[in-house]
Amino acid sequence: MHDTTAAHHFHAEKNKTVGRFFEHNKRSVFYVALILLFAAFPLTGSSYWIDLGVNIGFYTLLALSLNVILGQAGIFNMGHMAFYGVGAYVTAILNTVWHWPVFWTMPLAGCAAGLFAAIVARPIIHLRGDYLLIVTIGIVEIVRIALLNDIGGLTGGSNGIFGISRPVLFGFKIVKPIHFYYLVWGMVAVSYLLFYMMRRSRFGRALNYIKTDDVAAEGCGIDVAHYKLLAFVLGATWAGMTGSIYAAKMTTIAPESFNFMESCIIFAVVILGGGSQLGVLISALLFIGLPEIFRQFNDFRMLLFGLAMMLMMIWRPQGILPMRPRLYAVSKKLFSGAKESTSKGQEKIA
């Protein structure tokens, strides 16, 4: 039994077997099917469904970016909407005041959110999980109140900013919901791939060590504070870029879109996802999509949302899909010819 599971887990370039080849292709087939499904979805639906799809896409992007911080590094950030808001407002201001094209503002919106995250997180990143949670709630509230108070006369107070122009990509104006659908889900695909690669690297491993045991990680030579900050800034930058597209989609943004409650929802989506990106995607579809579909039940839908979360906590506390083990290419000669271990026991003592 031990041997068969072993054969499924490693991926040895130097001695491929048919079984492993199939295992490998099964995933590719799954992802190709998934991409086709998402690409075909707008062809069947009405504009209501497409708009819902765009909305879920924004949440998915936010959840994937928070997954780097919370799912991978285990940093309790309940203020993710603050960075989304910073990105959205940077684009809105640059676009309406100085008439910058939306796509030009996007890298700047990301950088601004990342810089903001670096400044606010630096002094607090070493805090224990529960304290960090409270401080990040404070951050999202401070940002919202600052926007409400029309800081620098640029944010427009409670009315927000309107008249943000549509983005233009290689001469093509992105206006209709269906355009935004492909833009946003294209961004989801790119983010998914990049974060997947990130996880399978020194950087991704460092985040996982820190999440598991930060004292042991530091003791092994990992600069815990540095990597926590990097994860935080990377996630915030992504949220900022997402906010940029959000501003262009809505053409009007207001402080109330970036509140604590929304941060909570993203947080819950990531926790319920279980750490893997596929889990986060499914979680976003379920927990953002379903309540929208049940909108006709009005107040009941939040009740259903809460109930679903409680049931999850009871029956699947590890989340929808926990992280899969990483695969390593190890040639057989490196592990089979080795001398026998000193102990063959498998049971764990103490």
């Binding site: 490693f10 990130m198 690297s201 592990f335 003592i349």
Partner: protein, 256 residues
């Protein structure tokens, strides 16, 4: 010149003086044992050296450089690797990834090359996996490379911690009770492993309660009681030191 020089080091916990004005040297390429009754302050000494605690007074010099007050990861980078008395592996992660954690500080790929899997990142990753497999083979765990660390036997977990420490290319290896929880046969194998580590020109400082192991491999012993040194020297002379016998009789007579 000693590799490690601890000078008048003091560490307090509230009113408790855990390490009291302690001074000792560790010469390059030696195996030094730090022994003493339970609660003598041995682990605290290690935690001060590795940067987990900052001593209130005194100095710690490693390889000619003061390391007092540096953060633990910095000290690993400078060449001191450790194992923990209470095993601290990443128990859900496969053995190979536990060893890769130790290799981390010798790898260079930055965040962007990790996101895009730059060619240099891929090459470094391959070389690191191979190097870590060699360390696993060195401690005899190569065939466990993909088993979660938590599924290994207690003795093997201690060996895995040693492999993880070795992966960081240390000059000084600090082992906190490496034989703790091992059976006789495992302890015997551990002695061979420790001697093989020294052959790689790695200096070893270890805490151990198993006196047979200590007597067999240590060239020099430091005996700690209530945070201060009560004896030091060759194992044979320390063993007959009246102060040492007194200390052990006072607390834990059957340890010898």
């Amino acid at each position: 010149m000693p590799l490690l020089k601890v000078d008048h080091m003091t560490k307090n916990f509230g009113g408790l003086v855990a390490v009291d004005d302690l001074s000792f040297n560790v010469e390059p390429n030696s195996i030094v044992g730090l022994i003493g009754p339970n609660g003598a302050g041995k682990t605290t000494v290690f935690n001060c050296i590795t940067g987990n605690y900052t001593p209130e007074a005194g100095s710690i010099t490693f390889d000619g450089q003061s390391i007092k007050g540096l953060r633990p990861h910095k000290i690993v980078e400078l060449g001191i690797a450790r194992t923990f008395q209470s095993i601290r592996l990443f128990s859900d992660l496969p053995s190979i990834e536990n060893v890769l954690a130790g290799r981390h500080c010798r790898m260079k790929a930055g965040m962007l090359s990790c996101l895009f899997h730059a060619p240099s990142q891929k090459k470094e990753e391959e070389a690191s996996v191979e190097r870590c497999m060699e360390e696993l083979a060195f401690v005899g765990l190569a065939h466990h490379w993909q088993d979660p660390a938590g599924s290994l036997s207690y003795g093997n977990q201690r060996l895995l911690e040693i492999a993880r420490a070795l992966a960081s290319d240390p000059k000084l290896l600090i082992l906190d009770e490496p034989a703790g929880g091992m059976n006789e046969q495992e302890t015997k194998a551990l002695v061979d492993t420790i001697l093989a580590i020294r052959k790689r020109n790695i200096t070893i400082l270890l805490i151990e309660h198993d006196m047979r192991l200590v007597m067999k491999i240590c060239e020099k012993l430091l005996v700690l009681e209530h945070g201060s040194l009560i004896a030091k020297g060759e194992p044979s002379s320390v063993r007959n030191d009246p102060a040492v016998i007194e200390a052990y009789l006072g607390s834990d007579a059957n340890k010898w």
